[in-house]
Symmetry: C2
Subunit: 337 residues, 2 copies
């Protein structure tokens, strides 16, 4: 099964349709996985070996405007700067856009405003591909539902499937070969007290893409075979924690899931270590504060940065210990960008 | 099965015997596991869940003199300093000595000279209990063989079973409930070119004993179930590497075994992280140098320090990149202490 088969199956007769609007606009939030997506069963379609569960980060994400572009080349603008056509981000984006113009007849200009550090482990590709999928839907007037958008976004980047909707989102792994049952669904629960604290310890491009890290881990880690059972366990705990607003359970399940994912990487060959010294120090501070009674947990993605998890009544304490933290309230209403 | 049953079974009628000599002396080398001992099937007897394989570090270790002591208390001297009777090291040592004086009638003075940092992940308890077992054998005149000494040393500390003999040593896990088939055997191969470089990044007492870390990992890590198969695989590779003096295979198997052991700890709850920032930096330097073609690997035990593995012809290069490294040649003949 190819990506184009999936797109054709979802768009049907609309696949060949011309844009209905002059401009397509969309915002997609980035998301942070509380239970990670780590390992693919299909590289082409970004089908995961396990389900995963994330929280969308409110107004942190990417806003896209898509317009038709005269000339021979697509134009990609990221935060006001043109992206060179030999950059890997440009190529990935054009490959994704190509899926939606089978006759290859139309060039596009994608103007992307992101308010999160690119490639610093903050799931920038998640909100990037999700916002592009949604903006295409707007531009062409396809009127797709969130399930269809989630599947299309997944073709760009697996975790983008979880960036279509706000709040808690579960990406169901599915089992079909064509992935038509592998999409994200929104959990109805909200948790206004919940806060995420971004600790950016390094804005450098990461040393290894999460795509490569994931593949190397699946292929070489002797511990990876135990990962799917860990995910199943953590998903049950996370849903229970969300249903009961049991913060200690949420924090424990999320942190333990993250450290276990990094453990699978450390056991790959060659070993993958995203932590930098500042990452270690931040983790140790979290553990120390928690041992002193503070309800503080963390998660970490395929990068050196740490995301703190805590509740609103602890904001002042967290700020006093982490002066550089950027605090987000995923359930707070507010303007994008 | 109790420790005293094992001692009685090995010493037989000699168990009640008075010392044959005025002083018992012994040296035992510390050892560094190339395939780690991580997880017990029996806490009382220190019986391991898997076999392990180590290299004894030549003249780095502990030298003990045991003498009878008048009065009511044992005396323990470590590097010239009396050890307080409420220190955990004192209690562990006295508990061990008690096994060998069932009527509890005789006090001992143990004068221990160690030339390795205590409790810094350099297996100080391994050479400590091995040297005590050997010194008791000398003091009492039991004339035990190395298999028996290995079993007795194991009762003090699991890895002490591997510190009775020099060179490459395999501790066979065994399967008997009384552990009489769980002891170390010396491999006959030597490898004079092999060097171990100690990178002491922290001499602080470690935050968590390896005993506790091991137990927490076995009980709480979702990845631990995959560890025994990893050990089986690495043991085959290590023995093949030793037989063929295949340094790249030895290094890869040892480093991968160590990072995988630390991965099982990172996936424990609460997570166990022995690395400090300097540990990370040293690991990254190793990976960078290796990517540039240098045959350099590392291993790490339950502590923050790194042990480099390389061959003699690279000594000058290693020293230029790690000015503080202490280089040991496990197979070099020489005086102890």
């Amino acid at each position: 099964v190819k990506k184009s088969n999936v797109v054709s199956s979802i768009l049907g007769k609309h696949w060949q349709q011309a844009p209905q609007n002059a401009v397509g606009k969309a915002f997609a939030p980035t998301n942070i996985a509380l239970c990670k997506y780590w390992g693919k069963r299909n590289q082409e379609l970004n089908l995961p070996l396990t389900s995963s569960l994330s929280i969308s980060l409110g107004n942190k994400g990417a806003f896209v405007e898509l317009t038709r572009q005269d000339g021979e080349h697509d134009i990609v603008i990221l935060n006001g700067q043109p992206v060179a056509s030999d950059a890997s981000f440009y190529k990935k984006l054009v490959n994704f856009l190509d899926l939606f113009r089978p006759q290859n007849a139309m060039r596009l200009r994608a103007d992307i405003q992101s308010n999160i550090p690119i490639a610093a482990g903050l799931a920038s590709s998640a909100c990037g591909f999700a916002s592009i999928a949604m903006a295409l839907n707007d531009l062409f007037g396809w009127q797709l539902n969130t399930t269809e958008l989630s599947i299309l976004a997944r073709l760009g980047s697996g975790s983008a499937s979880r960036s279509i909707e706000p709040g808690f989102v579960e990406w169901q792994a599915g089992s079909r070969e064509d992935g038509m049952d592998s999409y994200a669904v929104s959990l109805s629960e909200t948790w206004p007290e919940l806060c995420v604290g971004l600790l950016i310890v390094s804005e450098r491009e990461k040393i290894l893409s999460s795509r490569e890290a994931m593949q190397r881990t699946v292929e070489s880690s002797a511990l990876y075979p135990a990962w799917p059972a860990k995910v199943s366990h953590d998903l049950v705990e996370l849903k229970q924690a969300i249903a009961n607003h049991d913060f200690a359970l949420l924090g424990k399940a999320a942190e333990s899931n993250a450290t276990t994912m990094h453990a699978t990487m450390l056991s790959a060959w060659p070993a993958i270590q995203y932590a930098v010294p500042e990452t270690l120090l931040a983790m140790q501070t979290v553990w120390k504060l928690r041992s002193e009674g503070l309800a503080l947990y963390f998660t970490q993605d395929a990068g050196p940065n740490i995301k703190l998890l805590f509740e609103k009544h602890n904001v002042a304490t967290i700020q006093s210990h982490f002066p550089q933290v950027e605090i987000l309230q995923p359930f707070k209403k507010g303007k994008h960008i």
